[in-house]
Each structure stands twice: as C-alpha cells, then as structure tokens.
Amino acid sequence: MLSLRMQKNGGTMAETMTDSTGGSDEPTTGGGTRVLPFEFRGEGKEYFKIWIVNILLTILTLGIYSAWAKVRNNRYFYSNLYLDGESFRYLADPITILKSRIIAVVFFGVFVVASELFPVVGIVLAILLLAVTPYLVVRSLAFSNRMSAYRNIQFRFNASYGEAAMALLVWPILGALTAGILYPYAMLKSSQFIVRNSRYGSSAFDFDAKTWNYGLVFLIFLGLIIATLVVFSVVSFASSTAGVIVGALGYVLAGVYLTVMLTNVYFNSTSLQAHRLAANLELPGYLRVFVVNAILTVLTLGLYLPFAKVRLAKYRADHTQFIAAGSLEEFAAAEKEQVSALGEELGEVFDFDVGAI
C-alpha cells in the first residue's frame, strides 16, 4: 500500500507567512482571501547537532533515549514550520513514547521468533495483524494528531473501525485484485478517510478530490514505469551496466513523480471550513532535492541525513500554501480526550506509516 505521510516533518497544516502584518503586499485572490505560504525556518547545521547528539545518547543508553530523540526530532520540524507568523508544536511526552516503544519491540520480537519457529503461528499472527491494522492506524493517527497543535489548539482524529477497515483494507485489496483498475479509487478513499476524520480543534477538514485526479496520476506513473522497462531492455542489449543505471534512474523518476503529484492532489483537495490548502511541488525541483540528498548522504556515510531532511522540509514548505478566507483566530478547541501512545508505536514497528505523503 502506498505510504502517505501527514503531520510529520514538513507538516501538512503548517503554513508560512509572507508578511505577518498583512496589508497590500500580500498576494490576495480577491474577496478577502489571503494566500499564506508555509515557511520552514530550520537549518541543516542546527538540526545536525540535535540529530547527532540524539544518536549518541540513544546508543549510550541502549535505545532508551530514542523516545526523547523522537520527541526532539519532531519538535524541531514542527516548531520551525510557520504559518501566519505562528509555528506548530509537537506535544508528546517522551515517557509515554518510551513505554509504547518497549511494548512495540517486544511484540516485534515475539512475532519474528514465533514466525521462525512455528510457521503456522506466524501465519495466524500475520492474519490477526492484518485484521488489527485498521484499529492500530486509527489509534496511531489519533495520537499523532492530538500531539500536534497550532496556535495552542490541538488537532484531532476520530474514526470507527468499520470505516477504517473499508478505507485501509477493503479498498486497497480490491484495488490490487482488479489488477490496479480500482487502485486510484482506493487511494481516493484512503485520503478521504484520513482528511475527513481529522479536525483542527472542533473544526473538521474536508476533501474534495475526484477519482480522476488519482486515475490520471496513476496512468502516467504506469506509463513512466513501462517506458523505463522498455528503455531498460533496449539499453541492456548494448550494456547491462548502462541498462541497470537507466532502469534505476527511471524508477527514481517514477517514484518522485508519484510523490509530487499525490502531494499536490492531496493538499489542493483539502479544505478547513472556508479555508483551503494548496500545493505546487514540481518534478524537476523535487527531483533535484531528492537526488542531491541521496548522493550526499551516501558520500558522507549517512551524516548528511539531517541536512537532507531539512532541505526536503524547506522544499515542501516553499511549495505549500494556506488560502485563508478570513481570520485564523476563530477556531475553537475540541473537547477532552484520552488516547494512548501504544497505537502509534505499534504502527511504527509494523510500518503502517499512514498519513498523506
């Protein structure tokens, strides 16, 4: 299943502000709307120091510090993402994350050992896991949304198991079974499910993409893959090395295309009351960021990774906007709720990795 991301580095709902005092040099679209760009103010140099100390302490504490590391990493990306002069906040408490991680690692260990020794148990567990996935995804999204705030108002996510099962299991499976024909529709259902069940405070988001938005992207993606295969076969006749290089590049290109288009569709279809989101990521620009990141990360044995994350976050923020139909000060907080971190941590261990982009 395509993994999408929401509310993680680069933020979905954070924006940048062109001009915090408002006024005539703000681009407007008429009728009192303001286009507020997102802005990511983090710096690779600054983040690198946080990141490397996180790794050092995680190693020295045999992994215990990883919960604090996660909180600091997320806080860095949230708090450096600005919209209309305000930044986002990541609220999670490291102790909660630690408890959940311990449980999650134990689960993972049991799962691996059981599958190796008792293949039948392994299969049963895998099926159980599949059935439990919608529940875990919902818990995971609920937790990570609640741990996100803007202007001191928390986000929310609430969905029923049934709805989650349809959007996250049934439709994708149907998509796969129909040799991909229903897949764009399945992607639409997933995104709808996530966005429409998300709230900022007590205000719900809405999602108005059409199947064709996904269908077109999907078709072009398939086209790119097929073109890559064709070129790969042709070039391989001459030289298999060149063939593989061409194949790898084509694969990267197709993957980046998919990410860019899906991100744009996702944001452009999302609205919050009268306000809207917009995104205009571009293939060449994103490709450049991605390729430079990959090359430099490999050359530096991974030490470039934090710089890479910051560059990517900057690119995405630079190409995402919030189109405000009025003041952003009129949202009300949602009611009290209590959600455990367990869902999110289990979700991470089993790579549920849901969100948008």
Binding site: I55, S239, K309
Partner: protein, 342 residues
Amino acid sequence: MIAGAYSDGQSSKTEPATLHRQGEWVEIRDSNNKTLRRVALSLVNITSRLGNTPRSVILGAASGSAPVAQFETDDNDAIDRLFAGSGVASTLLHRLESHIGLIASACVFTVAFVFWLVVWGVPHGATVLAYSLPDELVSRVGDHTLEVLDATYLEPSELDAGEQPRIHGVLAPHVLPGPVTLHFRKWVPNALALPDGSIVLTDELIELADHDEELIAIAYHELGHVEHRHLLRRSLQGSVIAIFLFLLTGDVTNSDLLVTAPAVLVDLAYSREFETEADRYALRAMTQSGIDPIHFRNIMQKLEDWYTDQDEDGDAMPAIFQYLSTHPQTEERIAVIEAHIE
C-alpha cells in the same frame, strides 16, 4: 519582563503579551499591562530549549487534552536567565547539542560505533547466540522453506529411476551421521541444505557434474551452512540491524530508501561471509575425506559458466554488482580453492 504571545487554549486567538516573574509567581500581562493570568511557579511547565525554536511556557497542568493556556516567546536567552535555578527551564540537552567538542566526538563515535556494530558486534553476538540455542530449536528455523519453494520455483525431479538411490549411496557416507534425506527437484543447477540436515539437489546440477566427487563437494558446502547455523545467524543479524535502525530513525519520513538500502547491503555482505565460511568448511571436509578439492573448483567453474551463458551478452557480472550479490565473486572463490590446493 519577556515579550511574546499568549493564547488561552480555548480558541486559536493569540495576542501579544509579556511575561513577568515575581518570586514564586508567574504573571502574563496583555499589551495594556492588564493581568491575563497569574500562576504559581510550581504549576508552570516550560518546554526544554531546542535550537532556536520558540519556547512555550505552559500555564497550568498539561493533562491529556484539556485546553491549557500558554505563553510563547522567541527569546530563549531571556527565559533561561529569568528561570535560572528554579528547575523549571531545562537547558541541559540544548547545552549538549551546542557543545562543539561533543558534536565532533559524537560524529566520530557514531561512525566508529556503527562500523564496529555491523562488522563485528552483530555477527559475533548472533554467532554466540546461535550456537548456544538447543539443536532442536535450531533445526526448526526455516523448516517450511521446502514447502514454500515447492509452491514457487521447484518442480518434481525427472531423474531416471535408478539415479536417486545411486546418488544417495554416493553422498550418504560423507554427510551427517545417521540417515540423510535427499530431495531431488527440477529447477536450475543448485543445491540447498535445510536446517534439519536434509539436502535438496536439482536435476540440472546433477547433469552438470561429470564426477560424483563434484556433487560431494557441493553437498559439503551446503552442510557447512547447516553446521554453522547460517540461516539462524542471518535471521538474528537481520533482526538486530532492523531494530537498531528503528531505534535510531523510527521517525524518519521521506528518506526511507536511504535507510533501508544500507540494511539490505549489510545483509548481502553478511550473506557473502556465510558463503565463504561454507566454502572453507567444504574444503576442510574434502581434505579430511581424501577427496581432491579440484572437484569443488571444477563444479564451481561449471556453475559460473552455466549462469553466465544465461546472460544474453555473456558479460561477466560488472564489478559493482558484487555488492548486490549474495555470493562472493566466483573468481574469488576459485582463487581460494586453488590456494588451498597448494
């Protein structure tokens, strides 16, 4: 007095405000100097300093999700000064993260540690663990492999009726004490050892061999895998690497490929080491049984030729691909055998 913004948590409205501290009390005043909130210091929570990000002063107990008023400011230094010594504003981690000497050491340490872990720590730990587990447990690992292979790649053998018992007779004295199970299949020239000690041979491999000793050499190589518990060790090593990566980067988002690729490359490197270990085992076993190691070399060369011929342009694998391979380059393996012969 510190300048910032105040929000009450009930709505998304924020207003410019100033923060004042009077002993054990914290007070927030609006731009007209009117008091918005007054909270005891013991109920105030200040987020730890993180780079240049805004600092939040949370005014009241932050329970699960009840709206809580907060004051936010960009002036981290002022917050640190104002609350120094009160135990409320934590800067320990920030100081570690700003200490250049520590940063530099952390870089060196991390690279060295990861290198040590991958090259020595994980394989060594896995070996110790694998050998300390009871035999019965070890033989269960991967014991469904044959079923899976039968369902996917393998087809029933088409050897002549008499061949199977003959080969069984040839191999039996050389392999594990006790009855050995041989499975014959049709696929590509290849042989596998299953953890319970049984061996799978393919028709194509048998066809390729001109001498029974070549089959014995292959059998010994496969037994090397069993003897050294390679399947289990590879599983353990892979799992540890996976957990290590999860702990370090559990929240990595868009660089997924950059994180999983190294894990795959490491696994392949481990695999090549196991193959080398199995080769060494085979050479020792052949010498002990008085079988000429040249047969091992010969069958290996024939396998290499067979697989190379399958490649349309007949290229030997370009050098770079050796890092993507589960086995060491055949030339290397043959060189090792020839060195052993001398």
